[in-house]
């Protein structure tokens, strides 16, 4: 198990990675700038949890690749004509997902010719290739059908010239197009984000929709009936997309292509992991334990990797709906980065009624509900006997930490991502960024830095920006990504020394912030 290779994990240009199964004693104690992937603070000891070919989304030509590389999970159902008809007929997503009643937001009813509608910072539209509306973030699809018709006309017009439309730019506003046959996604943004960032967000929305239907089914539907109204199938699931869009604005994990963990002593985490490992079943592929938006642990079937996008979709599904609190949930879910063709079946339940701890057991068999339920029982039985359970519940009381603990003056906030593990850590927002508006502004600054560092043709190693409101420093090495936010009073000398100091601190705390020894069944 230790020696298994992380196939297809070819981050950046560094093909000669240090062995992943190095012992803890091998790991450099002082984090030097020469850290390569696998030795940075937070690097995994054995093998990666996630399937991440690159830390930045490859936006082109991935659909072709993934068909080849994704192992086929057992597909309990064939995709034949009858099934589609059945789906179209009655088995809509609404029933399966039993959505949150609060999702019926008032934003839907606003007047699409009003100034208020126009002045939203980010619009997202999804339409079919026939120009039929599928989703709009604001307003109703009906009222926007002519606007979406124009969007489709622009896409087809440029396509007719054997070309592809990408974006339209005006001062302070841009429109970005993403064609993912059979869907077209359009984002209209006044946020100043780069095209690449906006495309990445549209990509998430695309995967969100695929996760509800599978790409095979989507293709099948539109081949069958070109101007099919997909809203019939997606009715009641819009809140998932709404919620995902809010996450994209707030959650650094979606920006960094990483997830963050609940800070927990490694001894306790290891016990939780091994309890999950023990509660295995034939068709169980992934066992995921979440605490709110934080990962506690993830145990996977050997050779099967979970892509961070898929994990974020699971986070979004769980976080968007309160119905899973009512008991054990059983829902089909397609993990599009794993396989766009088939459904997995997820057993979702909270460990205790009022707890934040949510267990997700992903199986390949649609008839596996009782098996999964039993896995959970076994896990609970094992865990409740151990002190680790109590430790975990204690840890839930302070799921974050303050930046003061690092002890660097003028440092307000930071994001640190370990590339080999695909995990990141970040303190809670400090006083100055308490309001939603300020938090989103800070996220916007991080997004800018991220875009500059990951520029598709002119990537940067180092970015320092000094402005009237804050000083920012971003660094990219083969092992980690680091974003620091200082008060405007911080000097360059301080910023330079802060990097080393922070890396040392993270190294010291890595046991708590990262999952260093992920397990497989």
């Amino acid at each position: 198990m230790d020696g298994e290779s992380r196939n297809a994990t070819v981050p950046w240009d560094n093909a000669m990675l240090s062995p992943v199964d190095r012992l803890r004693s091998d790991r450099a104690d002082s984090p030097t700038p020469g850290l390569v992937e696998g030795t940075e603070p937070g690097a995994v000891q054995r093998s990666a949890i996630f399937y991440h070919a690159q830390s930045y989304e490859d936006l082109t030509a991935e659909a072709e690749n993934e068909a080849q590389r994704a192992p086929e999970p057992d597909r309990p159902q064939g995709h034949n004509e009858d099934e589609i008809d059945a789906l179209v007929g009655e088995k809509s997503v609404e029933r399966r997902l039993n959505n949150d009643p609060s999702s019926e937001s008032s934003t839907k009813e606003e007047d699409v010719s009003s100034e208020a509608w126009r002045s939203h910072k980010k619009h997202v539209f999804v339409l079919s290739e026939a120009g039929k509306p599928i989703y709009t973030r604001y307003g109703t699809e009906e009222a926007l059908s002519s606007t979406m018709g124009v969007m489709m006309a622009l896409v087809s017009f440029v396509e007719a010239e054997k070309n592809i439309i990408r974006s339209i730019h005006a001062d302070g506003c841009k429109v970005v197009f993403l064609t993912k046959s059979p869907l077209v996604l359009v984002g209209v943004s006044k946020t100043g984000q780069s095209d690449k960032e906006l495309l990445r967000e549209l990509q998430y929305i695309y995967y969100q929709i695929v996760s509800l239907l599978t790409l095979t089914q989507l293709n099948h539907i539109f081949q069958h009936k070109q101007n099919y109204d997909l809203r019939r199938l997606l009715a009641g699931s819009e809140y998932l997309t709404d919620n995902l869009l809010r996450r994209l604005e707030r959650d650094p994990g979606l920006l960094l292509s990483a997830v963050t963990c609940l800070p927990l002593a490694s001894s306790a985490r290891d016990v939780v992991s091994s309890s999950l490992q023990a509660a295995k079943a034939k068709n169980l592929v992934f066992s995921i334990l979440l605490a709110g938006d934080r990962l506690v642990t993830l145990v996977r079937k050997k050779d099967q990797f979970l892509h961070h996008i898929d994990l974020h979709l699971v986070f979004n599904l769980v976080g968007s709906s309160s119905s899973f609190r009512e008991g054990e949930g059983w829902t089909p879910i397609c993990l599009p980065k794993f396989n766009t063709a088939g459904f997995f079946h997820a057993h979702i339940s909270y460990l205790e009624p009022a707890s934040e701890l949510c267990l997700i057991l992903v199986s390949t068999d649609r008839e596996d509900f009782f098996n999964m339920s039993e896995c959970k029982q076994r896990f609970m039985e094992r865990l409740s006997k151990r002190s680790a359970y109590q430790a975990m519940k204690e840890a839930l009381k302070c799921p974050s930490y303050s930046v003061e603990q690092v002890g660097i003056p003028e440092l307000r906030h930071f994001l640190y991502k370990s590339k080999s593990s695909g995990l990141y850590t970040s303190p809670e927002f400090p006083e100055v960024y308490q309001s939603d508006e300020e938090q989103e502004r800070l996220m916007g600054l991080y997004q800018d830095l991220h875009s500059c560092l990951h520029h598709p043709t002119r990537p940067l190693r180092y970015f320092y920006r000094c402005s009237e409101t804050e000083n920012l420093l971003a660094r990219l090495t083969s092992g980690f990504e680091l974003y620091l936010c200082f008060s405007p009073l911080a000097t360059k000398a301080l910023a330079v020394s802060a990097v080393d100091k922070l890396l040392k601190w993270i190294r010291k705390e890595e046991d708590r912030f990262f999952i260093l020894s992920p397990l497989t069944y």
Partner: protein, 473 residues
Amino acid sequence: MASGAQEKQYTPSLLSFFIYNPTFGPREGEEEKKILFYHPSEVEKNEKIRNVGLCEAIVQFTRTFCPTKPAKSLHTQKNRQFFFEPEEHFWIVMVVRNPMIEKPNKDGKPPAIEYQEEEILDTVYGAVVRQCYSMYKLFNGTFGRAMEAGGVELLIQKLEKFFYRYLQTLHLQSCDLLDVFGGISFFPLDKMTYLKIQSFVNRVEESLSLIKYTAFLYNDQLIWSGLEQDDMRILYKYLTTSLFPRHSEPELAGRDSPLRPEVTGNLLHYGRFLTGPTNLKDPEAKFRFPKIFVSAEEGYEELHLIVYKAMSAAACFMISATVELTREFCEQLDSLVGPQLTLLASDICEQFTINRRISGPEKEPQFKFIYFNHMNLAEKSTIHMRKTASVCLTSVHPDLMKILGDINCDFARFDEDEEIIVKAMTDYWVVGKKSDQRELYVILNQKNANLILVNEEVKRLCATQFNNIFFLD
């Protein structure tokens, strides 16, 4: 194709350039009337109409979301289109093909083409389109003026005449940050020499009272101008990228022979007209000068542009177009200005050499920089070699120039003072500073430097080159 065939790289190039007014053919079937100019002209009519239609649709669609800010560019896989509405309802569109790499394909298949979509900077080419209009306006006045004078027919005629030639001088592959600034390079001068030039200008304007405005340049750099800044900016562009380079060769030849064959009387001087008559002695000589339009109290005024040069010194005299210029006037100007300008030119040259000697021998510095001041349009670049008519050579890698462009875009987004320091993958450091309308960009080639060293290096540069300018630290 042989399997060992090389990849071929193509730089960005002009695909098409057109001007239309959607109000000219509002009815169906009349779309062609909207099109006032279309390059390349041999494009089939329906395709022209379709391409104009797409632009109209993009502009209209963008209004759905921001009614007040018009669309400026459209990005596609193969090209970028830039839109500019200089006068109400008149749209100029420039379509630039993305740079691409042609990869030879084995088995006799056609080569694979890969478009490099991230190479073109919107700010740079947007500025190029605006420059196209400014240049048209300098020599023709506004579109509206042509419409008033002779309707659509005259406008179409003028556009054809101007852009047919002008577009050939566009060199899209070498456009960069300097096009965004559109600045003016000023000649550094001591007070004494500066006063000499000013008194020369005053004397000439007094003796030849027809002269309305004067501009004085040395070595392609501006010393004195009586025009409005924006007019001077575009005139400067014309002089330094078009007129001067065209005349540089004969001048070099002239320097070798101390006496011009056509020297008159006992006045020995190197003065000659760059616009108007090439030889005053020629009885056939025509006394026609190019006309330019500059801003004035009531809109604009039309002027004759006389450019007169002696050695490296050039004086531009502008005279109201209502006056007819005669042989007598030109002879008078030649005899008055020629000897004085020759003298001034050698004075400046001497002063310049002395100053250079004082500042010490030039050693290859560790850094290169671009400076621009939005207030007086002053620009200075040690990155660019001398500009010629056809190419603008830079001494750094194009990717670094694009990083400068990226930083400039970033500065443009926020109004406040800022500093950005980045390290590229090639280990070059790039520093951008924006402070009180001034922008400074420095490229340092110090692989092992860190942020602190880079900061000190730039401080040193500011102290030596811009000792009296305050930059945010």
